[in-house]
Amino acid sequence: MNKNKQNINVDHISQLAAIELSDEEKKMFQSQLENILSYIDQLNEINISDIHDEDKIKLSLNELRNDDPKKSISQEYVQKNAPEFNNNHISVPKILD
């Protein structure tokens, strides 16, 4: 999969990740990540076609607990950490015009 080197579009991915990158950062990450992806390419050496991951890497899970309503954190604590808080609500930028 040597096309990896050309394929990562840091600009596009940063949009998906909702992180605004400076031109300098984009340049730096582009070359660093191409380097890292080149290294990761070695996974192509392994034949993995006959491994069924569902069987082998299943983590042991507890049963789910009962869906009983429990006390959550108080409004006081929500307010403490909210960037903006008015009238018992966290204020956020508008979503719809």
Binding site: V10, E25, Q32, I57, S60, I90, P93
Partner: protein, 477 residues
Amino acid sequence: MELIKLLNNKQISSLDIINSLFSIIDKKDDLIGAYLTLDREEIVKNALDADKKRSNGVNLPLLGIPISIKDLINVKDQPCTCSSKILKNYISPYDATVITKLKEAGAIMFGRVNMDEFAMGSSTENAALGKTSNPWNLNHVPGGSSGGSAASVAGHLAIASLGSDTGGSIRQPASFCGCVGLKPTYGRVSRHGLTAFASSLDQIGPITKTVEDAALLLEIISGSDDFDSTVSQNKVLKYSNIINQKNSIDGLKIGLPKEYFIDGMDESVRQSIKEAVKHLEDMGANVIDISLPHSKYAIAVYYILATAEASANLARFDGMRYGARNQHPDLLTVYKKTRAEGFGSEVKRRIILGTYVLSSGYYDAYYKKAQKVRALIKEDFSEAFNLCDVIISPVSPTTAYPKGEKVNDPLKMYLDDILTTSVNLAGNCAISIPCGFHNNLPIGLQIIGNHFNEDLILQVANIFEQSTKFNDMNPIF
């Protein structure tokens, strides 16, 4: 723990311990930089309370013992910054399960210690808040990401610490700072209240001066939890008793994985490990060569899976409900600028990589493939444990390196994790204990155990510690 005996015999009080720590912190922490927060008033209050309880006959396993906490484990009413600008002013609204357990055992939460931002790093140089140095040589890194935890213990600024380990972040700083560091089996300890980095890899564990202390802390923090469905129902053993039940390693089968004695390893590290193994052989263990054939893929697998999980886990830091917010009229811009300003370089790099490997067209090539190779790595360990009881290796190819040496080459930094990440990928438990020094910098020995076999690795580590003098050494500073 010696202190518990002294406390129980009324030779010292919890307040004495606290004040002694404060005094050392006053002298040394300006230079070591382990602590991000230390609420002295609250700590003194808790110490007095503990002393009162003790004099009233209350008997709890950690009553009055102070534990420093890595700054990504939530303690109610205390900051939980993850050493990130984005959470600089965040105050925890709840206790992590491990904290609840420590408090129920009578322990005192003693400050918030520094780390690589969001646990991403191997040197604590990625800390956005504060700078931490290795107490053995202030020009060298303490390791990471639990660098503050290890530095606080090594520098006598803390009795013990709780850290977290996703790819080596307890074991490597413990190795660099000459402490004991234990990563439990995945699912041994609840992750509720641990700020998530990679949910299928993260584990909280103790960083301590002695193996005995690590055993006691593990016993207290382990166990099932309604708030973490990945915690095992496996019975929590009385590790603190168990370590003293074995004083011989006659017939113990030790596996030495050939893939872990890599080219480019410091000769001093190789030599120390060799001597440690010889010492264990002299005490009756049988050493066999084993192979963990997929070891070389561990870094590639780790940096696909961990970054993928991190990209999902860090999506919550968007400036809406908590943390910093860039005020801008457009919602999407708020997200982008908040995260741009709030996250450091390494965090951004890993989120970008993780987003990429999960993105449309690349998910199969990267994420799915990495999961399958992870299964192979896990199988390597399963098969090895058919041949041996414990696996021994170095923790790091080098001792603690000078600050700034690897900061500009992320891949070089990543490759240092080669000896620790497989254990996280396979979910096994492992402990790092001091086994030597080079140029006055500590070297760590890693003992890896089968799943839920912390009892055995603790026993072996304890026997090694008791029969060598490495644990007695202290930084001159």
